[in-house]
Point group: C2
Chain length 330, copies 2
């Protein structure tokens, strides 16, 4: 167990332990699954941490739950707020409902109807805005000024990072002798939490991230030594479009071993293989690490590899191997 001397904000082992205790009454302890046929294909021994089976269908519930239940009663009464049209919005809305406080979600007016319904289904108060970054931030500022709600960033927040870290912490409790843990990277909340949990574990497995080729800002940031924002990302893995934050970047820079990239074709093939062989619904973002293994973007022959299946929220009418959706995404 090691410390992070120069970053007071950086989650320490005791913060991740506290997050695990805090979310335990609400979050699922998700199973770790295996597959003989995928082991053969990857020439490695794979352990899949099934966050697709987490509440709201994604690891995001861990961080949101930890953040919401970290608030003082006085803070909590004024509610929480965020901007997101994805899994973080649903996760925050559910965590707030469980604490009995309001959740204010700023969403672009052109968000898919299925996502609007999902967030509304958790009783969140939705404020729509124009689909630009400026409008989103302006609208969020107005909501926070109006309500006094606590802004919970989707990933660049130590409470979120500590919450996401509990997934790898559980994986390592179940399978302590992993050589490597792989996770996808978008904003870096899951990856930085995974890297801390691995670093603090007695065996300190290497952490390797996987990223779509069409949204490779994390890899470029990792190599350049400073954050390079994501500009016009194009990938089927719609959970991985965002840029790193300064906090997630700092942890990734220090504690992640490598970042590899894969094509959308490889992501779609890996996703479909998991549906067919493991009978598990995972979203494209969740398939990125396995895609990197199967596509030989990285060689982990003979290793014991933990892979975090980050989520399973998929629009069943728009599967990526269907001809008409492929056209839309082309």
């Amino acid at each position: 167990m090691r410390s992070n001397p120069n970053h007071q904000w950086m989650p320490m082992p005791q913060h991740i332990d506290a997050a695990a205790v805090r979310i335990a009454p609400h979050a699922h302890r998700t199973p770790v699954m295996t597959s003989r046929s995928l082991d053969v294909k990857a020439d490695a021994v794979l352990f899949f941490k099934c966050e697709n089976l987490q509440r709201v269908g994604a690891f995001k519930f861990r961080g949101a739950c930890n953040a919401v239940f970290s608030l003082s009663d006085a803070e909590a009464r004024r509610g929480v707020a965020t901007h997101s049209s994805g899994n973080h919005a649903q996760a925050l809305a559910l965590a707030a409902r469980l604490r009995g406080i309001p959740a204010h979600i700023v969403m672009p007016e052109n968000a898919p109807a299925i996502k609007k319904r999902a967030v509304a289904g958790y009783d969140a108060r939705i404020t729509f805005c124009e689909p630009t970054l400026a409008a989103r931030e302006r609208t969020l500022d107005a909501v926070v000024a109006d309500t006094g709600a606590a802004f919970i960033h989707p990933y660049n927040d130590e409470r979120i990072i500590a919450g996401q870290a509990t997934a790898a912490r559980e994986l390592l409790a179940d399978v302590p002798d992993l050589d490597v843990i792989m996770a996808p990277v978008g904003g870096g909340g899951l990856l930085s939490g995974t890297a801390l949990a691995a670093h603090y574990h007695v065996s300190s497995p290497a952490v390797i991230a996987a990223e779509p080729e069409g949204a490779d800002d994390a890899k470029r940031s990792f190599e350049a030594g400073h954050i390079i924002p994501s500009v016009n990302p194009r990938t089927i893995a719609d959970g991985l479009l965002t840029s790193l934050g300064d906090k997630t970047y700092e942890i990734i820079r220090r504690y992640v071993h490598d970042i590899v990239t894969v094509s959308d074709d490889a992501i779609i093939a890996a996703m479909r293989l998991v549906w067919e062989r493991m009978k598990l619904v995972i979203e494209p973002s969740a398939a990125v690490p396995l895609a990197a293994l199967l596509d030989h973007s990285i060689d982990l022959s003979g290793r014991r590899v933990g892979i975090i299946f980050s989520g399973g929220n998929v629009d069943m009418d728009r599967l990526p191997w269907q001809p008409y959706t492929t056209q839309e995404n082309a």
Copy 2:
């Protein structure tokens, strides 16, 4: 624990116990999963036995494995044989490979390529025949005469029934206080095994079967008091097309509480709901009992209900909610 006085062939508790021991080194002990949102929709407390996560993706592996490992060494050396283009063929092929003996599978020459590949992938020796019942039986007889292989019927066989019974036996070990267990019914192997396991359990939960409206021969047989064969069945649930056998019928007649039917639309809706909410891939046949609950074909309000998800083998290019496949099935 009770006995079956008049039927020497009928599996007794000790036969099901022996099957459980026999298959334990080879079969998965599949998990029992739950879903808050499906509980709300069904107004019941549901426990899903995930045989879609069984080897070869279906409960069929249990029976095939029990049958193959029940053979004497002398019998086993000559191999096993069956006619099937479905999950039983794959299950028997894998069980035979695990024992190191040949499996001879008779398949209609027009079977889907995906099924031919799956069976061939388990090293089975495939003999193709014309797609008629007469040709299938004639071809099987020839294979058996030629090789001396033991014919393993897909369901009308006490070794198969005892093997399938182990799924409900495990479910009741994990959740002993069920009020009801539901299973789909085609040839009746799973249903008769489930009914025996429930009958022999200390709490004797009621067993209720669900069947597609377009293949309702089991319900009609159950009501008529004799076997009515399945003629020109039409349903999306392609694992449930066959008629009952005399052995499965006799057990079902005695120990099953009721058989209810549901429409294909309800089956497809229930299947999709499981994919979306539970993130589990199940095949249409596996969705039939849940469809009956959600469609109010039966009222189990407030009850604790075990449901066997019988399998998860689906052609991802032909999902039933896709416009072009729906047309083909219309």
